[in-house]
């Protein structure tokens, strides 16, 4: 985040935050988005392109981009990187078979220059499932402690029950806010 961007943002009357929500397919990205927005979550189809929602939270206007996680569209994730303030990485905590895949994709993203200023929130989703790994196990499996380049946090959550979703949003908005809108 350069000085110019900070000044530009600061000039805007409305405080806008752009969040990008990514993760492997079937992680629950769209379900999280719809749950936060208070929509029905029973008939969510796999995302073919992307969804975008604008929400007000703590005086910020949040634009949340939810981009499909299927392998064939992961190469298009990069089209959404520009001006991203926060990255929300969603993990299916019960999908042990693909944790290695999940780790690889995340660490590749973090090398991306256009995401270098973004705060990273990892949602260890699907805690409602009995086989779900805890946030500490996910933290280790994804080697989050190796991340030196981004502010990050991990939070166990359940899109199904709604548990911890707002807490996560609070953290990322707070973290971004303290970085970008410091000059207020």
């Amino acid at each position: 985040m350069g000085l110019l961007t900070i000044l530009k943002k600061n000039r805007q009357k409305e405080k806008e935050i752009r969040l990008l929500m990514l993760g492997l397919d079937n992680a629950g990205k769209t379900t999280i988005l719809k749950r936060i927005n208070g929509e029905d979550i029973d008939t969510i189809s796999p995302t073919l392109g992307f969804n975008i929602k604008t929400l007000e939270h703590k005086g910020f206007k949040m634009n949340i981009w939810d981009v499909g996680g299927q392998k064939s569209i992961r190469s298009y994730w990069r089209n959404y990187f520009e001006q991203t303030d926060g990255l929300v990485w969603v993990v299916d905590s019960a999908d042990r078979l693909r944790l290695e895949d999940c780790k690889k994709e995340l660490h590749e993203l973090l090398l991306e220059e256009r995401l270098s200023g973004a705060s990273l929130l990892v949602f260890a989703n699907k805690q409602d499932l009995p086989g779900a790994l805890s946030d500490d196990q996910i933290r280790e499996a994804l080697s989050l402690d190796d991340i030196q380049t981004h502010h990050w946090a991990i939070l166990a959550c359940s899109a199904k029950s709604g548990a911890n979703l707002l807490k996560g949003m609070d953290w990322i908005v707070g973290d971004i806010g303290s970085r970008i809108y410091l000059l207020d």
């Binding site: 397919d25 796999p46 392998k71 042990r96 499932l129 500490d136 933290r139 946090a153």
Partner: protein, 317 residues
């Protein structure tokens, strides 16, 4: 627009060729300059990737052909980057040692920096050893009949919470998952010539690398990948997707059990029995409006309810 995209491809090809030539010529670069040359090439590849990204938004988004062409280009860029990193390790010897930068504490919510999580003795670099015991699973079997009722529940499990099932590397097997155990997600990988009956489940059905199978299942989401020649009898309450699949045939789930019993299973899985999207398949490799060549609906004459019946009656005897 067509001119612009053609022009873009021409410039792209020239730069790509030049990068490839430089790659091949790396062998002749004096050792001391190898690192610099590689860095320079990486930068050029990055620049190239950037142009592709920029152009993608200008090109008509639903022009599937262009998308696929660009995708192929992206793949070739990736393989170039991979060749690069291989070359790098081959040509430039690893530094003997270096000073590690001091670790800055991460901002964790769940475990704040003041109370670091207890570190296991296992090295973080090795892949994490995560127990797979919560999965009920069948793997590496051939020519067998596999019934979920024959599996023991995970230790300490009372059988009331939904469990995930993993089916891996099965050949010519019949799999029956219909039992009184509630099931969550079904992870299926590398099945050949198998027949599967899956009761209504509260999670997704995720399928990879299968061939010549018949799958009968009911779920919230269906995601199928890199598979071919499959007969799928499906009840799914959202649009099912296929990716890198060919020759997929879909039909409705059907009345595989007595109505009362089936209703109860649907309810337990929180599936709406009157909401079936089995015929609204979305193909990630086919963005056009026209019907994808990779899947179709079965004709009435092709639908064989007796397949499920044969398998299910086997365990009532």
């Amino acid at each position: 627009m067509a001119d612009a995209s053609r022009e873009f491809r021409a410039t792209f090809d020239v730069e790509k060729q030049s990068i490839e030539d430089a790659l091949v010529g790396l062998d002749k670069v004096p050792k001391s300059n190898v690192q610099a040359s590689i860095d320079n090439l990486v930068q050029r590849i990055h620049a190239l990737e950037k142009t592709v990204t920029e152009k993608i938004s200008i090109l008509p988004p639903y022009d599937a052909r262009m998308c696929m062409e660009v995708q192929i280009k992206l793949l070739s860029i990736k393989s170039m980057a991979e060749t690069l990193s291989q070359l790098r390790t081959k040509l430039v010897p690893k530094a003997k040692f270096s000073f590690k930068s001091r670790k800055t504490p991460a901002t964790g919510i769940s475990s704040p920096p003041t109370t670091p999580a207890p570190k296991s003795t296992v090295s973080h670099k090795s892949s994490p050893t995560i127990d797979q015991t919560h999965f009920m699973k069948f793997e590496d079997r051939a020519d067998d009949y596999l019934f979920i009722g024959s599996l023991s529940l995970p230790l300490g499990d009372d059988g009331t919470t939904a469990k995930d099932v993993a089916l891996t590397n099965l050949q010519n097997c019949t799999v029956n998952l219909v039992h009184d155990i509630p099931l969550g997600a079904i992870h299926i990988r590398n099945l050949k010539q198998c027949t599967l009956v899956i009761p209504p489940v509260s999670g997704s059905i995720l399928l990879h690398d299968c061939e010549g199978c018949t799958l009968i299942g009911a779920c919230h989401q269906s995601r199928m990948h890199t598979s071919s020649n499959m007969d799928i009898y499906l009840h799914v309450t959202s649009e099912p997707i296929i990716e890198d699949c060919t020759d997929m045939r879909f039909a409705p789930y059907g009345q595989i059990l007595p109505a009362e019993q089936l209703d109860r299973l649907f309810e337990a899985a929180q599936l709406n029995p009157s909401n079936n999207y089995f015929d609204k398949v979305k193909d990630f490799n086919w963005l056009k409006q026209q019907q994808s060549p990779n899947w179709r609906l079965m004709d009435a004459s092709e639908i064989k309810p007796e397949i499920a019946q044969r398998i299910l009656t086997r365990d009532r005897v």
